[in-house]
């Protein structure tokens, strides 16, 4: 379709708005209310241009006018200029013009466009309207209503994008203001986005208020690190300190949106509690001495000495999901290729078998959100754990006809939008999915005792059967009180459907990068099994040795350590005490290891408990590298500031240790680029990860081989099904084939509940503890049960209770929650003071709990 913009013929796409077509062809039309990721409303009238569709030129708001064949547009005519001038004059009537004290000054569309298109002088001599200066509409967001030009961006975002319509226009005419309902703050996980899209300084966020001027900031494109979606961000710093993080618009990933945790999480990096140098202490003889700062040489020598003195299988490395891909590869090389131990696990019992994650056909976020598609959610609540993925899925469901079938133990943030919400009893998801698949392909099925009605299964199966465009499964751990095997078996059942693809919803930052780099037992970089033969050549060349035998996963490492079979336990950004699913085992494991060394940004609880050596690691924004998101998309993480004190990038720490243990083993690996090049050489999966590819896709990043519908299937898939289960110590038997119906977990006895442990956006994690803007946002510990169960109970709503399992207990407040099915009890993972992992034992599929008054 062709239109004429200021006399120049321009190609336009049918259906798009004039403002977009003009911008693409290089003609920027000023605007305040229009935002390309939200529906147009024509509020501000700034984008008025003269449009001729055959009836002569007339002023039209270009954000509301779809292009049409032969349309003529004049963006620079006298009439247009007069309109722009007039609109600006009206907008400025009530604007306080307090630019010198306004945070937006210098990057303010109102300021810029007044300069470019507006009147130079005001004619308004009357009193402007006044409001109380900034009011806090949430814990972090402040609203200055005098500055507001009523563009509807924030309110539209809250309603359309986030689905939290907690701010609205109140009043009418001259008295219109944006506000919340009294005593109902704008408590949205996504509130920070409104600050970013506000075209004036009306909305400001506490972490950046009065901190800097835009012209003092320098910025770099990077990737958010707090969850595995890998939202693209612009990191802005002044005087060697990160001051602000903004969302960058990656079409394939986050569309410019961020969760508040991604946006404000950088505050933790500026914390005074950061480790700035290695520290040592002696833990011999039960008691521990005080921490002493030490030189890097001394600390590294001590670790290398301890590692070199014991057989490789008595060394274990836990964690690594926080690291960049390059650091992960270096730690994998250090552990497996230099030390020779396979006891390496980046997941802390809260993830899934890498065979499942890497072996099943993979989907991208775009695959999951494609119009008319069908999504099966067998995993965590995306709103709580993967916020930007939630926004994408929500958009797909609300606007693009994506159908959602939930198979989750509790209500999620998407439940009210789901076509079908199936709530299998904890532990029975695989049986339910088996029935669902059987019904969808037309086989007979048994509803079984999953707690879900036959009719519900049939209805959902019908929806699944009609999904002729393929199905995307979002796969992860909905409840950490359910074993990974339950989810893995459900995935196996679902993979029987033709053309199903999986989007892993693992949570830890760069966990996908860790798996691709080989930070898991039995795994080498590039999805190669330890006993595999693929790529023998280049890996043998780069790595001095390989582990002699298959190693242990996190649970088995901790068990072995508790028995005294692990001498050196290295925690790389891991806090098993809080993050491992079994607190008691974590405690015993940490205590049982002869030497615990931690590489971290903070002294976390596990290190405080058991470490003798702590190495200060550089954080995100402090070192270069790349990040692999849950799709398998690699994007750069960039250094913006120097790390505090003498802390070093994780890759450098691994290289330093490797050089001490095997001189020459890291020769030439003196930069992230060099490490990336070696990774691309030894791993066929990473072969597409060239410097050129990264430079050519600075925003979207590069998809690894085997990621998404366009990639080829993972190289690690054999005979149609990935191999399941590894048989390390204590792991339950591999779940191959449909799970037997006879071994369904029993419904709990009277008065008992099956435990569901779900994560929340804010919790008592180490990073959030050091982040001022998330202080107090973690929900207090509650034991949530169905109102019907509460009615039957002798305890009332709000009672102080103790939740008791066979393995431990936590204290909580009893709360009625319609989102919890009868017979289940939901607790929040890592609620302040009530760690749910006290209740759970590693290796159990379901956990029964009882509630007693305290």
């Amino acid at each position: 379709m062709e239109i004429t913009v200021d006399g120049v013929a321009v190609q336009a796409t049918p259906g798009e708005m004039l403002i977009e077509a003009c911008e693409r062809s290089g003609t920027y039309i000023p605007r305040f209310c229009y935002h390309s990721r939200m529906s147009p409303v024509g509020m501000c009238r700034m984008c008025l241009v003269e449009v001729d569709t055959g009836r002569g030129f007339a002023l039209q708001p270009s954000c509301m006018v779809p292009v049409s064949e032969g349309m003529k547009v004049s963006t620079e005519s006298e009439v247009t200029k007069k309109a722009q001038d007039g609109v600006l004059e009206f907008l400025l009537i009530n604007h306080p013009l307090d630019c010198p004290v306004c945070d937006k000054g210098g990057e303010c569309p109102l300021q810029d466009q007044t300069m470019a298109y507006g009147p130079g002088e005001t004619r308004f001599v009357e009193e402007k309207r006044h409001f109380a200066k900034p009011i806090a509409i949430s814990e972090t967001v402040y609203l200055d209503r005098e500055r507001c030009i009523l563009c509807d961006r924030c309110t539209r975002f809250a309603d359309e994008v986030a689905g939290d319509a907690l701010i609205q226009f109140m009043g009418r005419g001259n008295h219109t203001e944006v506000n919340t309902f009294p005593d109902e703050p704008f408590a949205s996980y996504f509130s920070g986005n409104t600050v970013q899209i506000c075209p004036v300084g009306a909305l400001t966020a506490a972490p950046y208020r009065f901190k800097a001027r835009p012209w003092d900031l320098t910025e770099t494109l990077s990737t958010a690190w707090v969850d595995s979606v890998g939202a693209r961000v612009a990191v802005q710093a002044s005087r060697n300190r990160v001051l602000r993080v903004l969302g960058a618009d990656a079409d394939a990933v986050n569309w410019g949106w961020l969760t508040d945790k991604e946006r404000f999480g950088f505050e933790a990096l500026n914390s005074a509690e950061r480790l700035t140098a290695p520290m040592l202490r002696d833990a011999a003889g039960g008691g521990v001495s005080e921490w002493q700062e030490a030189g890097w040489g001394e600390a590294l020598d001590r670790i290398a000495g301890a590692v070199g003195a014991v057989p490789p299988e008595r060394v274990a490395v836990l964690g690594g999901a926080r690291l960049t891909n390059e650091a992960q590869y270096m730690w994998a090389k250090l552990a497996k290729g230099v030390i020779g131990t396979d006891n390496v696990d980046a997941q802390l019992g809260d993830g899934l078998d890498p065979a499942v994650v890497l072996g099943l056909p993979r989907a991208t976020i775009d695959d999951a959100c494609r119009p008319g598609g069908t999504v099966v959610l067998i995993g965590p609540d995306p709103k709580e754990e993967l916020g930007t993925l939630y926004l994408r899925l929500r958009h797909g469901i609300v606007n693009d006809g994506v159908k959602l079938i939930e198979v989750t133990p509790c209500e999620t943030g998407l439940s009210h939008l789901a076509q079908h919400s199936l709530r299998p009893r904890p532990g029975t998801a695989a049986q339910l999915v088996s029935a669902l698949v059987a019904a969808a392909v037309g086989d007979g099925f048994e509803a079984g005792s999953t707690g879900v009605d036959r009719s519900e299964i049939e209805a959902a199966a019908q929806c699944l059967a009609e999904a002729d465009d393929g199905v995307t499964a979002v796969l992860g751990r909905a409840s950490l009180a359910e074993g990974a095997e339950v989810v893995e078996a459900a995935a196996m059942e679902l993979s029987a459907l033709p053309s199903v693809r999986f989007l892993p919803a693992l949570r830890r930052g760069n966990v996908m990068g860790a798996l691709e780099a080989g930070l898991a037992p039995e795994l080498l970089p590039g999805r190669v099994r330890l006993d595999g033969v693929e790529d023998e050549g280049s890996l043998a060349e780069a790595w001095p040795r390989r582990p002699a035998a298959a190693g242990l996963d996190a649970a088995s490492v901790l068990r072995a350590a508790a028995r005294g079979d692990i001498d050196v336990l290295v925690l790389v950004g891991a806090d098993p005490l809080n993050d491992f699913i079994d607190r008691d085992l974590a405690y015993r494991g940490l205590r049982g290891a002869s030497l615990v060394a931690a590489v971290d940004m903070f002294l976390n609880d596990s290190a405080t408990l058991a470490a003798e050596i702590v190495l200060a690691a550089a954080g995100p924004t402090e070192c270069d590298g790349t990040f692999t998101n849950l799709e398998g998309r690699v994007s750069p993480m960039s250094r913006k500031v120097t790390p505090p004190g003498t802390s070093r990038p994780d890759w450098m720490i691994a290289a330093d240790l490797a050089e001490r243990l095997k001189p020459g083993s890291t020769e030439g690996l003196d930069s992230p680029q060099a490490i990336r090049a070696e990774l691309a050489r030894v791993s066929s999966v990473h072969s597409s990860l060239t410097e050129q590819a990264l430079q050519e896709n600075p925003v979207e990043g590069v998809l690894l081989a085997g990621a998404g519908a366009t990639g080829k299937a993972g190289g690690w898939r054999r005979s149609g099904r990935p191999t399941m289960g590894r048989s390390p110590v204590g792991r339950t038997e591999p779940a191959t084939g449909p799970a037997g119906r006879e071994d369904l977990p029993e419904p709990p006895p009277d008065g008992a509940f099956l435990l569901v442990a779900t994560r929340t956006m804010y919790d008592d994690g180490t990073m959030l503890r050091h982040c001022p803007s998330s202080q107090g946002l973690a929900p207090a510990a509650s034991a949530r049960i169905n109102p019907a169960d509460l009615d039957r109970s002798s305890l009332g709503e709000g009672a102080a209770v103790r939740v008791v399992s066979d393995f431990g207990h936590i204290e909580a407040t009893l709360t009625a929650d319609r989102g919890v099915p009868a017979g289940s009890l939901r607790v929040h993972w890592l609620a302040p003071g009530s760690p749910a992992n006290s209740l759970i034992a590693a290796g159990t599929d379901v956990t029964a709990v009882e509630v007693e008054a305290r």
Binding site: D159, D164, A165, L166, I167, Q168, F169, M170, G171, R172, N179, T180, F181, P182, D183, E184
Partner: protein
């Protein structure tokens, strides 16, 4: 105060009239205002729950309309017009007199909670200037004496004016089979049977 059980039942019926429950928002706000004389926060929260909207959406919608009040008002609300025609005929003086005789600021409510005095923009009765409204019922060519008499009558409940917020003394009841409803397009050529007849039941 949330909606009373009786009003909640009525609200459920009102919601059932609309294809989307949110469409019932404004009728329910009227219901709440009738119940309490103004819109309480609790009522707005309750209505939000009933129609599936956040409290902010409820208040944002209600705030657009002048006749929804968010603060308690008197039993009778007197709006005195001071727009051009009334101004020329003494509307401003009438307002001053009203404020003085009632002993309140414009916008205030008398201590006995009977009367709220407000200034109004043109209420479209310029031929009757100066004019005012009592609970939206018109009074024209009001002299100061008329005003004093009006206030006395209101205080003595001598006038047939329901208290502020009351919707209608007569509730409509139309049997289901006679409801106009939404006419399917294929039947739209014929008028509903009750149109043009004068025996439509209106029961109290």
């Amino acid at each position: 105060m949330t909606l009373s059980p009786a009003n909640e039942a009525l609200a459920a019926e009102i919601i059932s009239w609309f294809p989307r429950s949110r469409s019932a928002l404004i009728p329910l706000l009227h219901l709440a205002q009738e119940q309490d004389g103004y819109l309480t926060d609790d009522a707005m929260r309750h209505i939000g729950e009933l129609v599936g909207a956040t409290p902010a959406e409820v208040k944002g919608t209600a705030g657009f309309y002048e006749m929804f009040r968010f603060e308690p008002v008197g039993t009778y609300m007197i709006n005195v017009c001071t727009n051009i025609s009334c101004l020329l005929w003494g509307g401003e003086e009438l307002l001053h007199h009203a404020a003085e005789s009632l002993g309140v600021e414009v916008g205030g409510t008398t201590d006995d909670g009977m009367i709220t005095l407000e200034e109004a923009e043109c209420i479209a009765a310029c031929t009757e200037a100066p004019c005012l409204q009592v609970n939206y019922r018109y009074r024209g060519r009001v002299t100061h004496d008329d005003f004093d008499r009006l206030v006395d009558d209101l205080r003595a409940s001598r006038l047939d004016i329901p208290r502020h917020g009351a919707l209608s003394a007569v509730r409509q009841s139309i049997p289901a089979e006679r409801l106009a409803g939404v006419i399917p397009p294929e039947q739209a050529r014929e008028a509903p049977v009750w149109l043009g007849r004068n025996d439509v039941e209106v029961a109290g």
